[in-house]
Each structure stands twice: as C-alpha cells, then as structure tokens.
C-alpha cells in the first residue's frame, strides 16, 4: 500500500473523528445556552407586552405563551428550536424585529471580509517579523520586534483601535474613521477598501505579536535540531538552511495553532468592529446582549463555536496532509 492511500484514508478517519466530536459539542453548547436563557429571570412575553401586561387579560397572555411555545418543557422547546435550526431558521430577533438568519446574513459577509484580510495580514507579519527576529537573534532589531510584540500583546485591542482612530482619522485625516462607506455614499469597492484599512490593520497588528513570538521561538528551537545542524555542516548557505530546513519543521505546529487561534481572532474582530462601527456581527452581538435577545445571541454564539470547530478541523486536515505521520500515529 503506498503512502498516499494510507494518508487519504487516515485523513478521512480524522475528519470523521473530528466531526464526531464537533456535533456533540455544538449540541451541548446550544443546549447550555438554551437552559441559560430559560434560567434568566427575563420573560420574553412580559417584554412583548411591556407595561400593558398590567391591563392584559390572563387568557391573552396565556394565548401568546402557547403561540410562542414558551409554556412547553425546556427540552421540548429545545428540540423544536433544533428542528428549525437545522434548516437555518433561528427564530426572530427581538431587538431587530427581523428573522435571526436575516440579521446575521446581512452582517456576516462584512465580518468575514474583515477577519479574512486581517488574519492573512497577521500571519504574513508574524512569519516575516518572526523569521527576521530569529535570524538576527540578539540584535537590536530582534529586541525591538520582541519588545513591541510583548507590549502589543498586553494592549487591549480596542485601545489600539482608538489610538489608530485618533492618529490616522482625526489628527492626520488620512483615512475615514468608521462605518462601511462615507455618509450617503453608495457601497463601492473604493469606499469599502478605504474604510477597511484601519480596522484591518488594527486587527492584524493586535493578532500578529503572538505569531511573531511563536515563529521566533520555534525557529530558535529548531536551530539546535539535528537536521538543521546537519544541513549547516554540509555547507549549505544559512538562508537556505533557514528557509528550507528550519522553517519547514517549525511551521508544522503553526498549522494547528491557526485553528487554536480562531477564538481570539473572533474576539478581536468583535472589539475592532465595535470601535470602527463596522457593520458586521459585533454590533448585533452587543445589542442582542443589552436587549436580552437570546434568539440572536444564541445563534451568534453557536455560529462562532461552529466556526471554531470547523477551523480546528481544517487545521488538523492540513497538518495531516503536511505530515502524514500524524494520522498514522493517531
């Protein structure tokens, strides 16, 4: 049996195993959210009536309860929710007076755009600066990069966002400070691109330090490994040793970390979107939380969890493709 067949079958198994983990997790998370929502003292029916509940007849209140199904046991309500959720129907959002799927659908694209570009930039920055720092280990550049990374890692991302907003949008007036387009301007490529620069940069800069430090650390460790020492002793030029030998092995764990980093990325995007009033899902999340809109908040949380699980799955598959030993061992 040749290696390719083994690895393909192994990857298939890996995907199955991962899915076997992901589905129960999603069920568990959604059920826990459901129970949390039910346990909160907040009553959607009372909210629907507002002050008028004082004058409303008990029959009418009971009628609404029955219509909404909130008089059923929690498990039955959950199963009903689940049946609809499988078809991407997450109910209606109380705060937006729209179906949840529409609220999310309108905003998700912009969030994905921001996150995808920001993440790619952060990765590139991490690779470049991390390699540079390791290459020039101990030099002033290394110290500068490392110190900046630690500082940025400690700085709250929304504070970085405000700083960027002040300097580039308010003080220098180079770039627009928020929103998707200028007021009243139609959505066009140029408009979105200029409005994207600041949020994307802040997201990338807040995410990059961790990658920088990781790449640097792993490269330094790999400098002492046998195959790197061996390559050097065969007389290969240093830049080839780093790019062809040291980087290759030290980037393997990087793949899994991309998956592990997703929750932080989503958190960062949430805060960056808030600072720059980006029309993504962050505003919807905060509104949903402030207005106790559990239908929307729950759907968003389940969605984010699904994204994280999917990212982990993808990272594992990439890892297995890059290093077939993983599948054979595991």
């Amino acid at each position: 049996m040749d290696a390719q067949v083994v690895s393909d079958r192994g990857v298939g198994k890996l995907v199955l195993r991962r899915l076997g983990f992901a589905v129960p997790v999603l069920l568990l998370v959604s059920f826990a959210l459901f129970v949390l929502a039910k346990a909160s003292p907040f009553d959607p029916v009372e909210r629907y009536f507002g002050v008028r509940i004082i004058g409303a007849s008990p029959e009418r209140v009971a009628q609404i309860r029955a219509n909404w199904g909130v008089d059923q046991p929690v498990v039955e309500q959950y199963l009903a929710w689940l049946r609809h959720a499988v078809a991407f129907d997450f109910g209606d959002s109380l705060s937006f007076q729209q179906p949840v799927s529409q609220v999310i659908g309108d905003r998700l694209g912009w969030s994905v755009l921001l996150v995808a570009i920001g993440f790619t930039l952060a990765l590139l920055l991490g690779l470049l600066l991390g390699t540079a720092a390791a290459w020039l280990q101990g030099s002033w550049l290394d110290r500068l990069i490392t110190a900046t990374s630690y500082t940025l890692e400690a700085a709250p991302v929304f504070w970085l966002g405000l700083a960027a907003l002040y300097v580039f949008a308010l003080h220098l007036r180079w770039l627009p400070g928020g929103g998707l387009t200028d007021a009243d301007a139609p959505v066009s490529f140029g408009q979105v691109a200029t409005h994207l620069v600041l949020p994307v940069s802040v997201l990338a800069i807040s995410q990059a330090p961790w990658f920088v430090l990781f790449v640097r650390q792993n490269l330094l460790e790999s400098f002492t490994q046998d195959h790197v020492v061996g390559a050097r002793s065969r007389g290969l030029p240093d830049h080839l040793v780093v790019s062809g030998h040291a980087l290759r092995t030290s980037l393997l764990p990087f793949l899994t970390l991309l998956g592990a980093r997703l929750p932080e990325l989503i958190t960062g995007a949430l805060l960056v979107e808030t600072v720059f009033s980006w029309p993504g899902i962050a505003r919807a999340t905060v509104d949903a939380a402030l207005n106790v809109d559990f239908a929307l908040l729950g759907a968003l949380t389940v969605l984010a969890t699904a994204v994280v699980l999917l990212g982990n799955l993808l990272a594992d598959v990439l890892y297995a493709l890059a290093d077939p030993r993983v599948v054979l061992d595991g």
Binding site: L36, L162, F223, E264, I266, T274, A289, F294, T301
Partner: protein, 293 residues
Amino acid sequence: MADLAWRRAPRSRLAAAAPRSPRWRLIPSAVVLGVLAAAVLVVPLVVDLDQQYVDLAAANRPPSARHPFGTDELGRDVMLRCVYALRVSMTVGLVAALISSVLGTALGALAGAVGGWVDRLLMRLVDAVASVPHLLLGIVIVAVLRPSLTAVVISIGLTHWLSSARIVRSEVLSLRGRPFIDAAIVGGSSRTRVLVRHLLPNVAPQVLLATTLAVPHAVWHETALSFLGLGLPPHAASIGNMINDAQRSLLTGGWWMSLAPGLVLIAATLAVSGVGGVWRDRLNPKRRTELTW
C-alpha cells in the same frame, strides 16, 4: 549574515537557546508592580482627594503639571481615576482568577484522580468550553445575569478555568504513579486523603502560578466587557469604563483620557506576566517558552 546566533558558539549546540538572565524581566516587572501596588493600595488611604471630584472649570484639560494625565470631560483628574480604576480592575481580576482556579483545580483533580469515564467526560467538557470564544461566552453570561460586578466576576470565573483544570489534571496524572502515592495507599490512606494530603499540596505551586498568569487575562476580560457597555456600572471607574467614556472625548481631540488608562493597563499586564514568567521558568525550566515573557 555572518553573525547568526549559532555561529557565535559553534562548539555548543545549546548556545542557540541560551536564555537571557531572568533579572532583565524580574527587576523592571517587580519595580512596576511595586509602584502600581503602592499607588493602588496606599494612595486611596493617604491622599485626601476624591476621584469623583467634579470641577467643570477645569474640564477637558490636556496633561499639565497640576494634572499629569489631564482631566476628563467633567474635570476629574485622569491620573487619580486611573489609580481607582486599576484598583477596581485588579480586584475583579484577582477574585475572578481565584474563582476560576478553584473551579479548575477541583475539576482537574477530579478528572486526574478518578480517571476513567469521569476523566474523559470532564476533558470533553473542557474541549467543548474551549471551542466557544471566551468573550462571547462571557457576554452571554452577562446577558443572562444583567450587567453588574457579580455578573462580570462570574462570567470571567466560568470562562477561565480551563487552563488550570488542564494543568492540575496532567500534574495529578504524573504524580499518581510516584512511589510516595503508592506508599500512602499501602499505608491505608483513603482516596480522599491521598487527594487532599498528598496530591493537591504537590500541585499547589503550579496552581498558584496558573492563577497569577490568569490575572492579566481576567483583567483584560473585564476591560473588554466594560468597554462594550456590558461590564461594571458606568459610574464605577474601571479601566474599561474609562476607555469607553473617553471614546466620546476622543472625537473632540481629548486623546489623553484614553491614553492614560491604556498605558496603565499595559504596564500592569506586563509586570504581572513578567513576574509570573520568571517564576514559571524556575518552576518548570523544561517548559520554558517565551510566548508570555
């Protein structure tokens, strides 16, 4: 590129990973931590100044000799408010980190000591919770409990116990096979006694370390929640609330109101994780990593 690190000490393969002296991290971190602790603990006791003192005549002043960090839109001194904000944020961070450590230690010890399906179940739970972005889970918990100090502390406690649970479990698992545990069992100790008298005391240093390293995370979490308006009540000066308030002033040019709390937070975070990092390297030199400095 003649001066690659490995060139400098060609005879020793260890040279490439030679660590810098911990003093470089320890001394500045300890000094900053000491200054901040003195400010946070002593200033409110000694100085007879009211952080809520409103002086509209002195509103929106940039940094000056009288107000080193300037004043906010109500004329309150930003530096004094920073001290009180750090006090609030640090208290929240410490309490929340303690709660999450206790929770994590209990679950981790249970998983490691009992083993079997309990262990598998608990570790699946850890993986499941780890899949939900922290801040989002925190927001949900705050939404259920309505924004308040207690809600914030609970929300941080319930989202940050994972790392201590993992650490305690792996420590307990590695300790379980040691001869002194066998000796205790042979000596007639009950399961509880082995756990409480022999396993937990040996895990304690690691737990304390994990708690210390969790404090900056907890502070960060509180700050983020407060910034989103889902944290502490608006009148309480916390770092997040200050930055949130300062957003409006930023549009009219008041950069100092958000600059100061951010810098204070960065200094505090770096100092805590600096001291924690040196401590960790002493405790487990093999697991040395520079990801937290």
